[in-house]
Amino acid sequence: MRKIFIIAKHEFLSTVKTKSFIFVLILPLLILIPMVIAMGFIPQMALETPRNIGFVDEVGILQANDNFTKFGDSENAKSALLDDEINAFFVIHKNYRETGNVTVYSKAGLFSSPPTSVIETFLRDSLLEESKIDETLKERIQEPAKENSITLNKKGEVEEQTGAGFFIPYVLAILLMLAIMTSSGYLMQGIVIEKESKTVEILLSSLTADELLTGKIIGFGSAGLLQVVIWCCMLVVAIAVTPLSALFQGISVSWILILAVVYFILGYLLFAGSMACVAAPASTVRDAQQGATVFTMLAILPMMLLTIIINAPNSIIAKVLMYIPYTASVTTLMRISLVEVPVYELVASLAILTISVIIVIKLSAKIFRTGILMYGQKMSLKEVWRYLKG
């Protein structure tokens, strides 16, 4: 046990000190956190920003207000636009009632676009004002639907759906996948580099191959777990300080974070075991990476099917992915943040994953023991079978 701890400590410390680990750790700070904040603040800011728009009314149905300035003719409006007194202006032509023709003028620029939706709303409001219809009807025309979506399952029962939309599952999926792939990737690289540099032979004269592999899995896994925990903390802080907290009402964030840790550990062990299987017999990092491609593809499968999982979290595809060990971690976390997943489904998914982890770790120990000392040969399926038998 002591030697396993020494190996784990060595791998953990040498991993967390690397520049790439620190970079991946702060990656969410650099990309996701600004995104979270932007998603929380920008829509509000956009709505609240007064737009100064001019208009030339050849029909005589529009009234100027704080945001809309009336101009007598297009020439005056153009001068005001060029002098930056207004952001844009539009002209409603004489035949507007029959044709709906409106010409919108705005200045060219990298970030400017004609404010068509604001103009349309203004026109609709003005037309409704002119029509003198009932206030309630007017409100309905202005906002025809206050949507409340209800999803029915096959039995006709109502399925609960939370309002967090795609955001949480997306972030969780990316982070979990990133953590699992980086830490199992470190493990793979660590094994091949020690094999390439022949250091492994010195190590094996001090401890067994099983102790070495266990120590490595724990060491790199702890580094990955540290990543996940820090990310979870970042996410909690981001949610707390931004207006996004409204989105999370009704969702047990703590429950999701606990499951994130559990699924990280199981998902990591599965991928780590698999990576060890391809790394031990490989002669170079490139050989190992080639062998690992199949696992990488499986890991990103839920991301490729993200739209399906988000739009139909209870679809057959989403459920099947939850039971496939290599896609279970990411898919389950996406599902539990979207819908209430029945406990038996969670238990079944966790059970399949746990059994797979045990099998893969045992296989990897066998392959590691023999493969780690095999040099200059490409691994063939026949050899893998021999290792498994041996």
Binding site: R2, I6, K198, T199, I202, L204, L207
Partner: protein, 295 residues
């Protein structure tokens, strides 16, 4: 005086697929000796060492180390320098040795690291990263890693490779000191002169088979004396000489069974200017070449 067997290998056989790498090899190593494990490249030496260290499993045969079967506790009593060199390049000499010392469960490892770094004249490089050291220096660090836990049995695969004459002497002196302290050393090397001077007994394996085994005196006793000649001119083939190892102005001649050395001297004087003519027991190098070539 009763001798203690540190290592006792009996009928060891190892196959990789259908290829027999070690074929029914038996030998033993007594306490306090330097034992030469010799053989040409690919003879099976590294496989043999890995089996002794329990890194690989034999298909057949028995090994007793320190009078018992291998177990994990024995790993702390053995020091190993593998043939292929490998150290963590990105960490310092001290961190690297500390890690290996911890794995060997060395107490007060800092003091021992300092002691050994002083001994191999690397103390000033303690805080340098391994990648900053020359090949020879890295070799010495790796030797320290094999010595750090004060093992009773040292298995050293090519300990002198990459070392200049000064460092070769330094390491040779350390090995002799270790022997004097009662340590047992198994030395696998191609440097026959070192083996000849240092080893008490040798085992020569070729293509997985044991071809020579015993004390140097016993082995040399089985071979006819050879002739060493220093000369000027161009050496030609001389009748009665079985094999010539010619260095251009120095040659080692193995003689036919019933050849008189005096006859050879006479013939040599006719073809070259002889500066020195000496009759001596064959060198281990000659025996090695003869055995391997005739196999």
């Amino acid at each position: 005086m009763m001798t203690v067997k540190i290592l006792d290998v009996k009928e060891l056989t190892k196959r990789f697929d259908t290829k027999i790498v070690l074929d029914n090899i038996s030998f033993d190593v007594e306490k306090g000796v330097i034992f030469g494990l010799l053989g040409p490249n690919g003879a099976g030496k590294t496989t043999m060492i890995r089996i002794i260290l329990d890194i690989l499993r034999a298909d057949h045969g028995d090994i007793d180390i320190f009078g018992r079967k291998f177990d994990d506790a024995l790993k702390a009593r053995i020091g190993y320098l593998p043939e292929e060199r490998g150290l963590y390049q990105k960490i310092t000499v001290f961190e690297c040795l500390k890690y290996f010392a911890e794995l060997k469960e060395v107490k007060k490892s800092d003091d021992k690291i300092d002691f050994w770094l002083n001994k191999v004249e690397l103390y000033d490089y303690k805080s340098k990263k391994i990648e900053e050291l020359s090949k020879g220096m890295q070799q010495k660090v790796q030797l320290v890693a094999a010595f750090i836990h004060n093992p009773e049995l040292l298995i050293l695969d090519e300990p002198f490779s990459g070392l200049d004459p000064l460092n070769t002497k330094l390491i040779k002196d350390i090995l002799v000191d270790q022997k004097r302290e009662g340590k047992t050393i198994i030395l696998s090397t191609h440097q026959m002169d070192q083996v000849e001077r240092m080893c008490d007994r040798i085992l020569l394996i070729n293509r997985g088979k044991r071809v020579l085994y015993g004390s140097l005196a016993e082995i040399k006793g089985n071979y006819k004396e050879s002739v060493v000649v220093e000369y000027e001119g161009k050496l030609k083939r001389v009748e009665g000489v079985k094999k010539v190892n010619d260095y251009g102005k120095y040659a080692e001649l193995s003689l036919e069974e019933d050849t008189d050395p005096q006859e050879i001297l006479k013939k040599l004087v006719e073809v070259v200017g002889v500066r020195k003519f000496e009759l001596k027991a064959p060198s281990l190098n000659e025996i090695f070449i003869e055995v391997v070539e005739n196999a």
